[in-house]
Symmetry: C2
Subunit: 191 residues, 2 copies
């Protein structure tokens, strides 16, 4: 059993939390009015990207050494035409720079909330969580913790691949926003 702390209890936070719970882990949520508490082995940042900096400032010491999953898609919601992070970087890489002692892993940003709830994309293809991070043990710990959740997990490589995962997440959101796909559909992964 792994302890999991999730910042944010929106659609994504809850859908992710249910999966970790289904796999037998101990999940707790931290909201903006929560009292300061210990953090679990895995910490999930399930808040919009602009909210992350204040979490890091408020929990900097507690986050040190933790496995941190960044699920954000740092879309510029004013233009809906680009990301707000540098084009050769990623939200996850920016977070890793702010938290050099943490093990930052990108994940859950290419899976719509509905597909985490049903464990299927478009009720057809098993939902796959793509992980990118430089710490192999951290990715293994996440993968092991999700065993039995009903989700598939694939190691997508180093933290540099977070750039590509975020591009894919942005593309998927823009397709759904344009009603080319539905929010229950999107990209399924086939091995």
């Amino acid at each position: 059993m792994t302890t999991v702390s999730i910042f944010g209890k929106g659609n994504m936070g809850q859908a992710i939390g249910k999966n970790f719970e289904a796999a037998g882990n101990n999940v707790s949520y931290i909201q903006s009015d929560s009292p300061k508490s210990e953090l679990g082995d895995i910490v999930i940042l399930a808040v919009p990207y602009p909210a992350i900096r204040s979490i890091i400032e408020g929990y900097k010491e507690a986050l040190s050494g933790k496995i941190i999953i960044d699920i954000t898609n740092p879309v510029n919601f004013d233009t809906f035409d680009e990301l707000v992070v540098p084009a050769d970087s990623s939200a996850a890489a920016q977070i890793a720079t702010l938290l050099p002692d943490a093990k930052v892993v990108k994940g859950f940003n290419t899976t719509f909330g509905a597909t985490l709830e049903t464990k299927k994309v478009a009720n057809q293809q098993q939902t796959t969580v793509l992980l990118a991070g430089d710490n192999q043990d951290a990715k293994s710990t996440i993968g092991n913790a999700l065993e039995g959740s009903g989700l598939a997990v694939i190691d997508a490589g180093s933290l540099k691949r977070a750039r590509e995962l975020e591009a894919m997440g942005f593309l998927q959101i823009s397709l759904a926003a344009a009603e080319k796909i539905s929010w229950t559909g999107g990209f399924g992964v086939f091995r």
Copy 2:
């Protein structure tokens, strides 16, 4: 019926050509030793990215005004860890800059050759061609020309989205190269 000229007759060029032929279009291939000839309504650049510049130099006038489909994934094959185009741009955008009078569309870079042959990803989900380009008529012409091919086509937005399509193509290639997925699988699109 649309006339289609395909530069390159490798796996991708042939798989794409068969789809246009199956949909009733007139397809011809141009290889490096081909004599200069007229180009069709749709021109497909199905060569590795580094080979495109010499095609543009050799056919600059003939390409003017044409619908051009860029299928490349401009991966840095030395490092296999980044793309060779600027991070905020794309191969398609670079080509559009070199050919300002052409209607450049990104497409077929997120579909492995095998999935174009079988029209299915992992023999399960219909293969979808994602198109990005600034000229709506060009994208419609391509979509109409592929009707009856067995492929699905989705307009993924403006040419700026080629950045995201190329990131997704790179990610898919890197997953297959790492044997996390097979070359007959990859990303399926679910509406």
